[in-house]
Amino acid sequence: MRTTVRHTSWLLIACVIFATPSYAYLDPGTGSILLQSLLASIAVALGVLRFHWHSFKAFLANIVGSSAVKQEETGEVVDTESESQSGP
């Protein structure tokens, strides 16, 4: 699933950057076209980032989670337990 999303994102970005002709009765201006390409790329990139934000957060959680597991394994977690035991 994640691979499909990644592929679609790259395809979208590719669509923005690469090329086939279009027409207009008004001269759109080269500056405007180049700018639109750039703005659209940024918009799409941000969109992709937003789309992947959840996976990114999950990824982060995963790292944090796995380090927590490591801590548990090394027995550092025991401290918290002893604290709670020393409570009233």
Partner: protein, 464 residues
């Protein structure tokens, strides 16, 4: 039926043209435009936009109505006639901003139905009161996957850059826009904007970067050709429109203190019962005249236009030269939901007929006359501040509408004294007798009423 006359400003698009027959407005659709025309209508977009009041209505009519003019037409449609056509260089900042947002809203709705706009001319937006309406139904065409926003540069030049002129620098767009007519280019604006404005992402990209990219590639044929082969993803297109909408909705005129007339209501030489007398007289006139369209010369923030609308006038178009007052009047009319459009006008230099063949955009009075005119507390400004001959000023006002109310402000009035305080009084002919004579030479004086203790007098004229 009268012969069809073509609209001189409708020549750019080969897909059709506007014609007038008497009071009716027709649009031809040529062979070049018919496929797109039908395809766009099949999406249901036009019905939706017309229903929402965003697009001018249309009806298919018999081609014979246009006679010879319809020979190259595949189809003829009729549009309702708008009461008054105004131009972006006559709009206030608020009006231009409203038109820009309406344009973007329409384009976004269109894209949802796979339709786009072939241009972004500000002249295609008109106002009914303060409500914007898009009038060029032929610039809607089917969207081709991957195509660019053809009107982006035009949108910047005709909407964004004029708004930035006022928003960043505090300079109203009207004089420059009227001179250039096609708006303000990114290059020119970039040259005068302060360096710090580059910190705004939108200004940095739509003004400075666009100008830089244009400059860098504009002269090179290769670069232009290469740019022409690019594609724009629809999602990117939509994001650009959406981003501009969010940005423009937050633009405000740069505050440089209250403008001359914004505080007029609280800072003039009237006391309340004088204002009351003035309002009573105007009310009586409006009830008798019941005009379809009132022109309010020197409308300030719209007090008398709104009064006229409350007492039987159908719509009002106001004119003033003070930008702060106009912005205020526009917002006020929108809040009250009245059919009042305040426009920028320097009466000593009204909008001329200009553009291609000097017919593309019409002069102020070539476009429409009012059924009634109000010229309250304005003649002394023209006759004294601008040195315009009094009989000519009155002739100009009386020419605007067959009946109206004009205020005479005597020399001893504090407002006139203020105008004369730093200059020699060369206005020997400025008195009530000359005023009355000048009106009498052109119209019948129906009645007059002294409204202030120092002799301000309202004159009701009728030239029918």
């Amino acid at each position: 039926m009268a012969a069809a006359a073509s609209e001189p400003g409708s020549f750019r698009d080969n897909k059709g043209r506007i014609y007038y027959v008497g009071d009716r407005v027709f649009r031809t659709i040529t062979l070049a435009g018919i496929t797109d025309f039908e395809a766009v209508r099949a999406t249901g977009l036009v019905d939706e936009l017309v229903g929402a009041g965003l697009l001018i209505a249309e009806n298919r009519v018999d081609r014979k109505l246009l006679g010879e003019s319809a020979t190259d037409a595949s189809l003829v449609i009729e549009h309702p006639r708008l009461a008054y056509i105004s131009y972006p260089y006559e709009w206030s900042f608020e009006a231009l901003k409203t038109a820009a947002l309406a344009h973007l809203e329409l384009h976004q709705k269109a894209l949802q139905k796979n339709v786009t706009l072939s241009d972004a001319s500000a002249f295609n937006v008109q106002f009914r009161g303060t409500k914007p309406i898009f009038i060029d139904s032929l610039s809607l065409r089917m969207y081709d996957e991957g195509e660019f926003w053809a009107g982006h540069r035009q949108f910047c030049e005709q909407f964004i850059n004029p708004l930035l002129l006022r928003s960043v620098l505090g300079v109203p767009h009207n004089a420059w826009y009227r001179g250039a007519m096609e708006g303000i280019s990114a290059q020119e604006l970039g040259d005068i904007l302060p360096w710090r404005s580059r910190f705004s992402w939108n200004i940095l990209t739509h003004v400075f970067l666009q100008a830089r990219l244009q400059r860098a590639s504009g002269s090179a044929h290769k670069a232009a050709k290469k740019a022409g082969t690019r594609k724009l993803a629809k999602i990117g297109f939509e994001q650009i429109l959406h981003g501009l909408q969010r940005w423009i909705s937050k633009l405000e005129p740069r505050r440089s203190g209250a403008t001359v007339w914004q505080n007029y209501a609280s800072d003039n030489s009237y006391v309340d019962d004088e204002t009351e007398r003035k309002r009573e007289f105007v009310q009586k006139f409006i009830k008798s005249a019941t005009p379809e369209l009132v022109f309010d010369i020197g409308c300030n923030t719209g007090d008398y236009s709104i009064l006229a609308l409350e007492h039987g006038a159908r719509r009002a178009v106001g004119f003033d030269f003070d930008h702060g007052a106009l912005d205020h009047a526009f917002r006020r009319a929108r809040e009250l939901d009245v059919d009042f459009l305040p426009l920028h006008l320097d009466a000593a230099n009204p909008s001329p007929s200009q553009g291609w063949l000097q017919k593309e955009r019409q002069g102020l009075l070539q476009r429409a006359r009012g059924d009634a005119v109000l010229a309250l507390a304005v003649v002394h400004h023209l006759a004294i501040s601008k040195n315009l001959p009094l009989p000519e000023v009155l002739g100009w006002i009386i020419d605007i509408a067959p009946q109206g109310v004009i205020e005479f402000v005597p020399k001893q009035d504090p407002m006139v004294q203020r105008l004369l305080s730093l200059r020699e009084d060369i206005f020997a002919g400025y008195d009530e007798e000359s005023f009355r004579e000048a009106i009498g030479a052109r119209a019948r004086i129906v009645s007059s009423s002294i409204v202030s203790s120092n002799g301000r007098t309202l004159y009701w004229y009728d030239r029918q």
